[in-house]
Structures are given as C-alpha cells and as structure tokens.
C-alpha cells in the first residue's frame, strides 16, 4: 500500500497539501486493505467503494483548483454502521433492520462531508451496540487485527479494526458504556468519548439516549481531536493543531478502590508502568476514590436496560427471530425491569456524576485502566481476572461505564502490551466543560504513556 504507511491524519493532510499524494491514491489504498483484510477480520458491513472514489476525485479536483479546504479534506474515514449516511443501509449490525436505507445524513455525517472527509464504508458492531465483544452481529462477528481468535472489543469493533489496519484513517463510533474506548483499548488505538451532549446523535440508532455518545477512533490524540472538532461543528482549518499541555506540574488523580481491583496482572503492570513514566516526566499523580463506585454497575444496567427495552419492544414482539439469540435474550430480560428501579438508577446517576466531578476538582484528568483485561477469546463467556473468573461483559464494561453514567469526556490511550503482545489501554477522564484541557493533556501524555 504505497500511499499509506501508518501515517496519521495530521501527517497526511500535510502530504496532500504538498502534493506528495492524492486523496484518490489514499482512498484506493484503504479500499485495497479492505479487500485484502475484510474477508478475515469482518470489520466492514458495507463498503462504499464507488462513491468513495468519486468523492476522492472531487476532493483532489477541489484542492487542485485552490479552493479552501477543511481539516479532513480528502481523508478516508469510516462510520460505525448505526450512523445514517443517505442512500446507504444502516444495519445497526442486525437483521432486524434488513432493507433499511438511510434517506438523509445524520448531522455528524453532514459535518464530516463538509470538512472534506471521504467515507469508505460502514463498520461492523455488536448488534444494536448492545455488547462489548462484537461476537453477536447479524453480519457475523469481527476479529481482532493482531489475533483473529480473539475479540476486537465492542461495540465499535469494526471501527477499531479499520483504524488499526489502515482500512480507514479514522472512524466514527458510539459509546454507551464504553463502546468506543473498549475496542480502542483492546486494539491499541486512541478512542475518545466526548462529554455527553457535545456531539449530536440525531441519525444514530440509539441504545440509551441518556448514555449514548458519538466520537472518534483514531491513531493519535491529535487525529481524534481533529475529528472531534469536526463532529462538534467547529470546522477546524487545515492548519489548526492541538497544542499539548506542558506535562510538568499537571495534576492527575489515579483512581483507586473499585478501579484498582480484579485486574489482570499484565494490564496492572502495563498501566502502572505508564503512570510511573508520567510521574517521572513531571506529572503530579494523586490517589483518588469515587465513594459510591460499587453502585455504578447496577445504576448503568438499569438505565441501559430500561431505555433499550422501550426502543426494542415492538420488534421483539414482531420479529424476535431476526435478533441474534444472546442480544434478544438480554433485551427480553430488560422488559421485566420495574419503573421504581429505573427511577432509583436515575437518582444514582446524579450521585455518581457529582462524585466524579468532585474527584476532578483541581485535576486535569483521572487515570485508570481502560479495561481490566486484554482482548478475550471469541465466544468466551468469562475471562480470568485476578484469582477468579468474571463474565466477559462485566469485566469489559467495569472501568468505562462510570463515565457514561457521569457523562464526563474520557479517552483510551495505548500504553503498552501484554506478554502475548495484546494492547493495553490507559483511560483518561476529564471534567465536564473542560474537554480541550483533557485532549491537550492526553496529547502531552501520548508518547510518554506508550513508552516509545
């Protein structure tokens, strides 16, 4: 693939501006990778090759004519297949939506196209984003790019694979309990969940409207920032850059208690080493605890189940056989939830959000592992964690769902690998209203955290 050798959006937009490559060549390179890798990894449900090449040629002509261009001009990106793109199927990874073709763009799709992005296709996901592994998709499970016996994480698993392998340079995912950060952590890319409400979710198939977030998966923090700014409607210019914060003296809270238990040994060691490197580089690391952290799982579960039950009730009645059996069962379970318990969860959400906010006072970010485990084997029901076994779903969600409940911006940074070469993620959580500060801090931590 002569026109893509692991470069970032930031590098490629320079190369495009200097005439060293073209959008057409970059798009062809991504499509070649999809053709070569997708039969094995199943990262894409729909590939829009023809439309992408047309868009890439238009991008090249526009640039050649000297027309001002956006930050993503000519860059091949992908969309998780629950985001509407007019004229293209939106499957949500389910046969329930067989034949559903979007009649208009989601707002975020419009913003990406306005910034010049070239959309190469729609990525695979856990059915209706209701799972953490991508094992259960109406279009077959996706596979980890480094070990195809393992899960790429989910629900935005196809997006993480696409970014890791260069099938697209970045991708747009969604995150209800960790569905951007989990596959990013598992596959070794950057995944950013913005603050709740920051990015419009119209035209996006919901799982829980009060927990859903849209955000980027990318190769670097700067790339994630460029895509995030575009999704947020701020249309960064072609020369705009993210300025890393000076790391020396930055104050971080290292989450303890709930966030420091039942962690696989190699994950614990990898995250501890990254935090130690940050401290040596001048960051101030202070332990901090969330008092009601052990209540987060029940609060999250009751919120997401209640919302998902409402959305799926009609199709569960009319066409239950079109769901994958595991997702159908969990949705049927959700229909037994009592209103009084949903109301308790709403109250709990406020309590936990406030506690996380308080932990962030005077600190640029909170730190913890993105997940307590590395990529689980495909089809595994449980994973070894510490001295016992834990259901895969519980383990994968445990450290990410708190910040969907709390609605703070959070991202996963690669921070090394296990003894078997599987990526480990460091999660950084910022304060509500201070997303720019989080991303500047993450950019400062990026090289230090990876140890490269």
């Amino acid at each position: 693939m002569s026109d893509w050798n692991g470069q970032t959006i930031d590098e490629l937009r320079g190369a495009l501006a200097r005439g060293e490559t073209t959008s057409t060549r970059l798009t062809e390179a991504c499509l070649e990778r999809i053709a070569a890798l997708n039969p094995r990894l199943n990262a894409f449900i729909t590939v829009t090759a023809e439309a992408a090449l047309v868009a890439a040629r238009v991008a090249d002509r526009t640039r050649a004519a000297g027309t001002p261009v956006g930050a993503l001009h000519g860059i091949p990106l992908s969309l998780k297949d629950l985001i509407d793109q007019a004229g293209v199927r939106t499957s949500a990874g389910s046969q329930v939506r067989r034949g559903v073709v979007a009649t208009s763009h989601a707002t975020i799709t419009t913003r990406l196209e306005a910034a010049g992005a070239v959309l190469v296709g729609k990525t695979n996901l856990h059915e209706f984003a209701f799972g953490t592994t991508n094992d259960d998709s109406g279009f077959g499970g996706a596979r980890h790019p480094l070990d195809d016996t393992r899960s790429p994480g989910g629900s935005s698993g196809g997006s993480a694979i696409a970014v890791r392998t260069g099938m697209s340079i970045a991708s747009i995912g969604t995150d209800t309990g960790g569905s951007i950060r989990i596959p990013a952590g598992v596959c070794g890319v950057v995944g950013f969940k913005p603050e709740w409400g920051d990015i419009p979710t119209d035209g996006v198939v919901p799982l829980s409207r009060q927990l859903d977030h849209v955000g980027p998966l990318a190769r670097t923090v700067t790339d994630a920032w460029l895509v995030y700014e575009t999704l947020a409607g701020r249309a960064p210019g072609p020369a705009d850059r993210l300025e890393p914060a000076p790391l020396k003296g930055l104050r971080f809270g290292l989450l303890t208690g709930y966030f420091d238990t039942r962690i696989a040994d190699d994950v614990r060691a990898g995250v501890a080493a990254a935090v130690e490197r940050l401290a040596r580089a001048g960051a101030v690391i202070e332990p901090v605890e969330i008092p009601h952290a052990t209540d987060i799982g029940p609060v999250y579960l009751h919120l997401v189940l209640g919302d998902a039950a409402a959305y799926h009730a009609a199709t569960l009645e009319d066409r239950p056989g079109d769901y994958t059996p595991p997702v159908r069962l969990r949705l049927e379970m959700a229909r037994y939830l009592l209103a009084e318990d949903y109301a308790r969860a709403l109250r709990g959400r406020e309590v936990i959000a406030g506690e996380i906010d308080r932990a962030l006072v005077g600190r640029v970010a909170l730190l913890c592992p993105t997940l307590p485990v590395t990529a689980p084997p495909i089809g595994a029901a449980t994973v070894p964690v510490g001295e016992g076994e834990e259901p895969v779903r519980n383990a994968m969600l445990r450290f990410t769902q708190p910040f969907n409940v709390g609605r703070q911006p959070a991202l996963s940074l690669p921070c090394g690998q296990s003894a078997t070469g599987l990526p480990i993620g460091l999660q950084m959580v910022g304060a509500r209203g201070a997303t720019a500060l989080l991303l500047q801090a993450a950019a400062a931590c990026e090289q230090v955290a990876t140890g490269t």
Partner: protein
C-alpha cells in the same frame, strides 16, 4: 414489590412465554436490583430532606 417476589413472577412469566433460558439472566438482574435498592443514597419517605446535589459542572482550576 420485593426483589424476591419480582424475580419469582418474572421467571414464571418467562417460562409461560417459552423462554426458560431467561432464568439465569433474571437472577443476575435481581442481584443487581438488590444492590441498587440497598444503596445509601436512595430516598425514603420517612427521611429528612436530602441536601442539594453537587453543582452539575466543576471545571478544574
């Protein structure tokens, strides 16, 4: 309704609907619901008024 009564009713309904495989999931949900109900931040009709919650947004200094 207590969690135990809710669970028994839910399992009976699932079995009547031909979905006995829901039983372990419902048992897991019941355990989660019990934890939720036991949380010390739950409101009670016979308790003093709860203090105002924290501000919605706290920006680091």
């Amino acid at each position: 309704m207590t969690v135990d009564r809710w669970l028994a009713a839910a399992i009976a309904d699932a079995e009547q609907r031909g979905m006995p495989e829901l039983k372990p999931l419902l048992q897991g949900l019941a355990a989660s619901t019990a934890t939720l109900r036991a949380a010390d931040w739950n409101d009670r009709g016979d308790a003093a008024a709860t203090p105002a919650p924290m501000p919605a947004k706290v920006v680091p200094t």
